[in-house]
Symmetry: C2
Subunit: 155 residues, 2 copies
């Protein structure tokens, strides 16, 4: 039981995909724990640098480096802000491409909630109160089982 590969992908033998693989290209931008925790906080509305550092539990230097990478990759924008008596800091917000990471973040949450110990928050739909899930579906609206996912037919 696996995803089905067709076309060139099925024939690639022992060749690494590297930049030809969109999964790998995504991971080159967000493929580490600290980056994803920073994104979690921005999704939660805590985009100020000081809050990010505390809530993610990293040093200022690491946070600054990861945030710079996310800005460079077009995932976040940054805006200066200043509180009385403090020096200028930056607050981060998601770009349109950053918002498109919601299924990544929610699928991580969903898996951790189901398969690790410790529970988690309820995730519900504001309009109807029903639980929110990340689902694999096709454009025709069918729920798609793993066996029926076909990857790699030419495009």
């Amino acid at each position: 039981m696996t995803v089905r590969l067709t076309g060139r992908l099925a024939q690639r033998g022992d060749v690494a995909l590297g930049d030809r693989c969109p999964i790998d290209r995504t991971l080159q931008v967000i493929g580490n724990r600290t980056t994803l925790l920073l994104l979690r906080e921005v999704f939660y509305g805590a985009g100020r640098f000081d809050a990010l550092v505390k809530r993610v539990g990293v040093t200022e230097a690491v946070a600054a480096q990861r945030l710079r990478q996310l800005v460079d990759a077009g995932v976040l924008t940054k805006e200066p802000y200043r509180e009385p008596g403090q020096r200028t800091r930056h607050a981060y917000a998601l770009t349109e491409s950053g918002h498109d990471l919601l299924p990544v973040v929610l699928s991580l949450l969903q898996w951790g909630d189901s398969h690790t110990r410790g529970g988690g928050p309820a995730v519900t739909h504001a309009n109807c109160g029903e639980p929110v899930r990340v689902e694999v579906r096709c454009a025709a609206g069918h729920a798609v089982a793993e066996d029926d996912v076909v990857v790699g037919s030419g495009r």
Copy 2:
């Protein structure tokens, strides 16, 4: 425009969530690029150690360490196999909890396809040929916009 927080999550101030956050717990298992590329290959049906090493492009030592972590976390199982004249090697397969990572892997693919340069494979539904997407939906079947995702009401 962000996810809405309610309950304790909205009030946590500057406290890091750590093991209380299912996103973080997931990242402690799969939160690095090499691990996710190994999982990609197992989803693609290439679970033999030698193939994993070549297709992910890492050293045998790194691959062995990451695979051991995934077995310990219950995401993969391993089985010995042996080809004539070779020493015994292992092949890896997804457990039930491993299969549940499909939305994570597909959401990474989807984002990279949409937001990084280089294209990617078509992902389609075997039964009807329509494109496959990872969608955020509630149990009532509604497509849920980011603004309408409520995280953290008590459970």
